[in-house]
């Protein structure tokens, strides 16, 4: 109990707009076999508990938990599903190890968004069935409402939101796993089809398919497995009100509270000093600005100007979403947070190739479960 927890293995398959050659099981296996190889473990012999994050309606199967053990090496082992984001899964793995009963745990998340023919309708089914859904609105309207209020209260501008798109999709060009790299001008990021004004389509991350597996270990086991454990300093997660009618429409309170929990565990009093780089939610471009402020990395109203001034560029003071974020890597549904964590781990290990940041020792990953939720998680890592 209270031994430290480390990431000792990561593996992924993807990320791409379609993946017709792989069933979801085959995709999960491809990520798992790489993660176990990276960790140097045999899941049948060594991994003691498994966690998968998934939602039935993303899979088109009820009790999707049924279909998870075989391709992860988890048969007849303690395995469970968390209906949450990958970082919720990571936090769960962290808690399991901290109970002292488990020392090696695997976490998996994936997206087969390309297989969901009616994804907007399904997302709309997450809205309250009695008071919201009958309005018949595409769920992006919720992001549009929030973006509008956020801009109003923070003073952030449309151009600043667009600069998030330019930065992240530009970063994605240097990420061989990211499908949506592009060299855009601000005008291009501002243009294109509307979505839910002030949101336009180019500010919303397009979905991608892929799977990610991470292996966590207790300190003692981690040290026996690798010379490069990536420590999980703290995890946090929070739900703000589900009901749209009770929302705070400008702040990402769930992110603020999740971060507070994570920072407390990590012993971080001044995030701006402690965090060297961050992978944060950019499901919609404004979310990156809003999340950065909620995480205490920028004061209210300052994330926009800072982004415009390139403070969060790969060579800036606080690189944000060097991986490309969801805008560049694709919206990976429930695996999104693992996508953010993956980049943090690779950076801290010095394995980020052309994207490698110099002299980074502490990174933060943050995710949001998407509209219509007010639910998200945070994890802080160091090398």
């Amino acid at each position: 109990m209270n031994e430290r927890v480390a990431v000792v293995g990561v593996g992924w398959s993807g990320f791409r707009p379609v993946s017709p050659d792989l069933s979801y099981k085959e995709m999960m296996y491809a990520a798992a076999v790489r993660a176990y190889q990276d960790a140097g473990v045999d899941p049948r012999r060594d991994v003691q508990s498994f966690i998968t994050v998934a939602e039935d309606f993303h899979e088109g199967t009820s009790i999707f938990d049924e279909y998870t053990p075989d391709q992860l090496g988890a048969v007849l082992k303690p395995m469970h599903t968390i209906s949450g984001d990958g970082l919720h899964g990571l936090a769960t793995g962290y808690m399991l190890i901290q109970t002292g009963q488990f020392s090696l745990v695997a976490i998996e998340g994936h997206s087969k968004a390309s297989n969901i023919l009616t994804l907007p309708q399904i997302t709309a089914y997450a809205q309250d069935p009695v008071v919201n859904r009958p309005l018949g609105l595409n769920s992006d309207f919720i992001a549009g409402l929030e973006m509008n209020r956020y801009l109003y209260e923070s003073g952030a501008t449309l151009e600043q939101c667009a600069s998030v798109v330019v930065k992240n999709r530009g970063n994605a060009l240097r990420n061989p796993s990211a499908p949506y790299g592009a060299d855009l001008e601000i005008g291009e990021a501002l243009g294109g089809p509307r979505l839910a004004w002030p949101l336009n389509q180019r500010q919303a991350a397009v979905h991608a398919d892929g799977a990610i597996v991470m292996v966590l270990a207790s300190e003692q086991v981690a040290r026996s497995l690798t010379a490069q454990p990536v420590w999980v300093l703290g995890v946090g997660w929070c739900n703000d009100s589900y009901a749209l009618e009770y929302r705070n429409w400008s702040q990402a309170v769930y992110a603020r509270e999740a971060a507070r929990l994570a920072y407390r565990q990590a012993g971080i009093r001044h995030p701006t000093q402690a965090i060297d780089f961050a992978e944060v939610d950019d499901t919609y471009a404004y979310k990156e600005l809003q999340s950065l402020e909620a995480l205490g990395l920028f004061r209210s109203g300052e994330a926009g100007p800072a982004t415009e001034q390139l403070a969060t560029a790969a060579d800036g003071e606080l690189p944000v979403n060097v991986s490309g974020g969801s805008l560049g890597m694709g919206n990976l549904l429930d695996a999104t947070g693992l996508g953010r964590a993956l980049e943090v781990v690779l950076q801290l290990r010095g394995q980020a190739g052309a994207r490698q940041l110099n002299n980074v020792s502490t990174g933060l990953a943050q995710s949001w479960r998407g509209v219509p939720t007010a639910s998200g998680a945070v994890a802080v890592f160091s090398n």
């Binding site: 085959e26 176990y36 049948r44 391709q71 089914y125």
Partner: protein
């Protein structure tokens, strides 16, 4: 917990309450459609069904022959890339006589779902399917059965390319 039922929350309604228009409710129908990538293993299984045979997979580590095929052996966590054509006969491992459809309609003639251990696969390795051309009261665990296939032109590469399994006549 020694309270009486009266004190507990939870208000029961009846179907009649709905029929009498006493309950305010809203009605909706979900649009949930998917196109699942079948991948290599199941894709091969379906292609074999279209050709008129059952395909299994073999793990050279634990030496099991399984059906349907899969890319990884769930016991050994070793890749499974050996495909093995199996026979379309088998043995009933268990069965039921079901008088209710999936959407809760009563039927007179029962559907007969069964787990059929397929010849050529390892023991206890079978598939879910239905039995047909058999008197429900005659079905037994251990019964030998054979697949009845759709005409080649009608097959789609689906589990329903097999219409059902029927008893093998005694020689």
């Amino acid at each position: 917990m020694s309270e009486s039922s009266q004190n507990l929350p939870g208000t029961p309604l009846s179907e009649k309450d709905f029929q009498d228009g006493l309950i305010l409710h809203s009605y909706d129908e979900m649009q949930a459609r998917y196109a699942w990538d079948t991948g290599t293993a199941i894709g091969s299984y379906l292609a074999a069904l279209k050709e008129g045979f059952l395909l299994g997979g073999r793990c050279s580590t634990c030496r099991r022959t399984v059906i349907p095929p899969r890319v990884v052996c769930e016991w050994c966590f070793r890749p499974m890339d050996e495909y093995v054509p199996l026979q379309d006969t088998g043995t009933v491992n268990t069965y039921s006589l079901c008088y209710v459809t999936w959407d809760v309609q009563r039927i007179r003639e029962p559907e007969i779902p069964a787990v059929i251990e397929i010849d050529g696969a390892s023991p206890l390795h079978g598939i879910l399917h239905k039995l047909g051309e058999v008197d429900p009261q005659q079905v037994r665990i251990g019964m030998r059965v054979r697949a009845v296939w759709k005409e080649p032109a009608e097959r789609q590469g689906a589990i329903t390319d097999i219409l059902y399994f029927k008893p093998i006549e005694e020689a």
